[in-house]
Each structure stands twice: as structure tokens, then as C-alpha cells.
């Protein structure tokens, strides 16, 4: 059953990765303006200026 060690390790690692990503996004204020984030996607400011 040695494979379990690897599987559990992988599961925990992936979970921890997700948690780290969540904590990072929280820390960088990405949940401060949820309505705005939903709308900013409609802005065309990535187009080259004419």
C-alpha cells in the first residue's frame, strides 16, 4: 500500500496549492470589488490606441 503515501501526499499538496492561491488572492485585495471585476472584463482598454 505504499502507493497510498504518494496519493495522500499528492492530494494534500494539491489542496494546499489551492488554499495558498486563495489566501494570496485574498491578500492582494482581489475580493474587494467583485461587482467591478465582473464589469471590467467589458472594457476594451487592451486594444491598441488608434
Amino acid at each position: 500500500m505504499d502507493v497510498l503515501i504518494i496519493l495522500i501526499g499528492a492530494a494534500l499538496f494539491l489542496g494546499a496549492l489551492g488554499l495558498a492561491a486563495f489566501l494570496w488572492s485574498l491578500k492582494s485585495n482581489q475580493y474587494d470589488d467583485l461587482d467591478g471585476a465582473a464589469r471590467r472584463i467589458l472594457l476594451d482598454d487592451d486594444l491598441p490606441e488608434d
Partner: protein, 751 residues
Amino acid sequence: MTAILDDAASAAGCCPASQAVPVAFPDEAVTGAGQAGTFAQTGEDGRHVLSLLVDGITCAACIAHVEKAARSVPGVEFARLNYSTRRLQVGWQENSADADSIVTALAARGYKATPYAPEGVSEGDDAALKTLLRALGVAGFAAMNVMLLSVSLWAGSDMAPETRLLFQWLSALIVLPAIAYAGQPFFRAALSALRGGRLNMDVPISLAIILAATMSLYQTITGGDEIYFDASIMLLFFLLLGRTLDLRVRAKARSAAQNLLAMRSRAATVIRSDGTREFLQAEHIRPGMTLAVASGERIPADGTLSSATATLDTSLLTGETLPESARSGATVFAGSLNIGDPLELVVTAAADATLLSEIVRLMEVAEQGRARYVRLADRVAAWYAPVVHGLGAITVLAWLWSGAGWETALLNGIAVLIITCPCALGLAVPAVQVVAGGRLLRAGILIKSGDALERLADVDTVVFDKTGTLTTGALQLADPDRYDEATMALATALAQESRHPLSRALTAAGRSHPATIRNIRETSGFGLSGEIEAGEIRLGSRTWVGAGEDAAPEDTQAEIWLRDAAGNLTRFTFDDELRRDAVETVSRLRQYGMAVILLSGDRTPAVRAIAETLGIRDWRAGCLPQNKAARLTALSAEGRKVLMVGDGLNDAPALATAHVSMSPADAADIAQVAADFISLGDRLGAVCDCLTTARQSRRLVWQNFALAFGYNAIAIPLAITGFVTPLIAAIAMSGSSIIVTLNALRLKWMS
């Protein structure tokens, strides 16, 4: 702001900048410029940051317009708009740009921006929400991984003992640190409640979580099977979810209120003894200073008028719809709007001593009284916690008495505490409040405090203010078809030169092209005059046009007179229109069994007319702010639960005194801060919507409590008799939470 409201607005071409026409500027926006510099903050690196509240943001394009407008000011390095809170932050290096040009740049695009001092807007909610979210993330991560291991433990009865032990230790390794971190919001609240000698829901929650974890650890070490790691972390996850939802509802409402309060700290123009003018923030004004107040500006402090005459709109303070004329030496109050010529005044009372602050103070006193209201969940917790702890103790004693060992007795006692942990109770109220809040938001109503719905459901009396609440608050020309074209043309031509509310109403009603008039002059407090080919014409008060006191019947309507070149007099009358659904709303409230009362600061005849139209028998006119509050105190002394609906500054103390209160969105800032509900539309029917939703919510909350107790009635005997296994605990706990949440969602489909 809801998506529905926004989408409707964008379809109509919402943003000022997306309309091709040049934007006519609201008076207060223009005067806001020139003061902005005092609000800019300087960082250590010499960078200035200005925080602004921006009005009129309704769609995605507005974000781009606002940020682009701010960045277009030379020297500006960054501009970031928070769409949810309507707050804009602009930064620039020292001496490379200035605050006023940013306000002006935004104004040119049609966005009214008000600078505010960021320290006045507390970040407490944000920080608390972040702590909860972090805890929620950690608990979620731990719950997922432990469940993975626990399902194997439940299913794998043929598992090798070493593997079993490994899984148990792994669970312990994940859960114990997770609980130590994510449980802190509950542990802290429980500790502070115990220190204060109280019991709240957090005490049984904390006890159950800690005991479950400790016992599971003991069982793991001694090789037992009663391991509740999964149940305890899941419990924590569900409870954190409820807590987060609850805080989000309240934080959103509070940030709206803070925006309003921040706007209040305006700056004022001070005239120094050498004649120079200087901008000062309102809290730096001292008695004895001379202030200049431009047309369209609010007076920042109480004082004595030093200009010869002035015309003031005091509706914010008194509810009086007609403008008031003041002469030199008269006392003027902070909060009055100067609608005449620019005026000067000598400050007699500033900042905390003004009438405005007095009203705010009255309001705060009243709010403290209301803070004594105990939320339903806390009332339930107050007897739930002792019962649960008592049951646990009885279980231990009963098992000991029946001859079981200490270990078995304690195990079963702890099982009782775990199974009764108020998981469903913790979700029962917030889940309903979130759904109710969402439903009211779609109907255009904001809820400011979490327990407002509970209080609203108890209401048996509704008190209305008149101006701006039952009526639209805007004067309208009565029966405009009565006047002939030529008269209207003359009147409109003069009226459009004045900012007086009656002139504005006249201009708004003008159908024809205004006539050409030369030499138009305004005499503050009297009226306007001008010349046409045939001679002088005048528009204004009765005395201004030379009409005798007997020229027209003495009635209560607001009036304005026109004298044309030939000396013919025309009298224009104005009504303050009832809201369209006022009659219907009042009669619906009666059907609900409510007593309806009208309290107004306006004159008796005007109030009587409205009361008769609506069939309200209990009314009083000429009420001062303290009269209204006193009447509400008297009503509550009679044991009545009052809903106060009002919009003026003069209503603020009453709004805060009432059991629960509501304000329209165009109400005075301070009234909105005092109110529990803010309705965004111009429908008075929102009052009925709120009442229906509040009563349905109360029913659902009670149903949820019943469900939670029903679950306990089944589970507690099992726990006491020692039949609960970790699997049963996990299923029972998540099952009851899900049922309670689903029941709360039913509110969405109720009519």
C-alpha cells in the same frame, strides 16, 4: 447595486458621459471644487493620494470614463475606481498635479466627485470580513481532505490496523491546526461573552468544537474508534459560512452609510480680516470667523447673517417646503441651502455646537436606546446553551450512575454536545436574511442592519413624514394649461434666470419658447425684473409685483406673481405632489392592520390637505425634530412598535427613535444613516414590500428553528443512549444544515 437595476440603466444610456448633450451642472458639484486640496494625503515617498466618492456610476463604461478622466489630468500616476463602493483613489507625485483639477476633470465628464477623509471611513468591516474568509478557506481545505480520509475509514472495515492508524493520525494532523486557526472568531467571541457573564451561541459552538477535537485526539492515541475530526471541522466550516454571509450583508449596508457620512465633512470658505479667502475643513471652523457661502452651497456652521438679505432653503432642517428670506442680523443654521445670492455670515457655533450636530446627537442618543434590542438568535441562544450543557452533564451523571466507567460516560456526554452544536441554528437566521436581503435589493430596497427585518415584522404602527416621503418633495406648477402662451413665455423667460425652487418649477413647466427680455435682475428675497419693448415686467412675491393682500383668496398654496408691461397680474400656484401610489399604500397598510400617523414640520393647512386625501385621522403639523422624537417615544411607551418613514434631517432623531425606520434614497444624508431601510425607487409601495418580506422571513426563521429542534429531538436521545457514531454525526450535521438552507431559499419564490 443589483444587476437588474444597472442593466436597465445602461440600456437607457445611463452614464452622463455617454450622453451627447453637455451636462448641466448640479450646483453643489461646482462648489465642491476648490476645496479638494485639503483632503489629499501625502505618503512618505512624497506621493499624494486623494480619495473621492463618485456619484452617477451605473455601468461598466462609467469605470473607464471615470478612470480615464482622472488619468487625463497631467501628472496623475494612477486612478482606481472601486465599483462596489463608488470610491476612487487618485495618486500623483508632489507638485505635479492638484486635487481641484481632478474634481473639475471628473465634473467635466458629468461625474460629481466629493473628496473625503479616508480615516473617517472605517476599514473595520473589511478587515473582519478578510479574517473570516481566510478562516473559511482554511476550514474548507481541511474539511475536504479529512473527508477523503474519513470516508475511507467508514467504508474500509477490512482496512489494515496500521493504515487505519495512519489515516487517523493524518486527520489529526490536518484538523487540529485548522481548528486552532479557523476557530478563533468563535473562541474569541465566546471568551468575551463569558467574561461579560453572558452566554451566547458561540459558547456551545466553541465547547463542542474543542471537546470533539480533544476527545478524538485522545481516542487516536489510545486506539479508540470514536473519532470526530471530520464532524468538528465540517461544523466549523458551516458555521463560518453562516458568519461570513451575515457580516457581508451588514458590511455592504454599512459602507453605503459611511459614504453618506463622509460626504458630510465638507470644507468652507473663510474670509480673513485682511480680506483673503481660504478653504478650511468644516471641523476647523471656529466661532467669530467670517464665512462666505456661494449660491447653491450649504451653510457649514450656525451664525449671524452679515449680508443684507439672503434666501435659504431650510427644508433639510424643518421640512418646510417654501424658501425662507433672512435679513442682516438673522440667525442662520448649518445645513440650510443658500439659494439666493452669495452670502456672508459670522460664525456663532461651529462643528459640535451647531443645530445640525444637535440633531445628530439626539439621533445617537436614540440609537443607543435601540441597541438594547436583542436579536432573535441571541435570545434563543440564551436558553439553548444552558439546556445543552445541562443535558451533557446529565448524560455523564446518568451513565456513571448506571455503572459505566468514566471514559464511556464522558464519551457519551461529549457526543451530546457535538450533536447538539447549533450548526443549523447558526445558519437558520443568516441564511434567511441573505435571501430576504437579495429579494429586497431586487425590489430596490437596501437593508442597513441585520436585525432590521426582525424588528420590522413586529410593527403595528406606521408614522409618515409629509414632505419628500408621502409627497415627491418637488413643487410643481398646478394646472399649467390654465395660463396662456404669452404669459407663460414671459414668466419662463424671467424664471429661468433664478435658482429659487418656485422659479425652477415654473421653468420646468414652461412649454413655449421663452420671450426675449433684457436687463434681467434678481432682488434676493423678492423676485426678478426685466424689460421688454412695452415696459418693465416683474416676477416674484405678492408685494414685489404690487398686488394687494386682497388680490387673491388667502389659501395655502405656494404662489408666484407675474406683472406684465400693461400691469396685468397673473398668479401661479404650486403643489407638492403626492407620490403616485401614496393612497394605495396607506390603504394597504390599513388592511395589514397598521395604525397610520402623519407627523410633519410643514404648515397646518398643507398637512391637513394631505391627511384628508389619504384618510389619515391622526396627524400633527408644525413638528420640530424633538417633537417628532418625543411623539415616537410616547408611542413606544404605550407598547406600540413603530415604523417611521421619513426623509429630512428633521426626521433623523425620529428615525433613530422608532422601533424600525425607512428612508427614500434622495433623503438627507443623515436620515439615511439613521434609517434601517433605504428605498431606491420613488415608490412608496416599498414600505408594503418590506413588511411582507419581513413577515415571511420571520415565518421562515421560526420554521428553521423548528427544523433544527426537530433534528435535535431525534439526535439527542441517540447521543444520550450512546448510539451516535462519527458517521451518524457527520450525516446529521450536514443534513440539517442543508435542509435549513434550502428552506431559507424558499423565500425566493414566495410572492
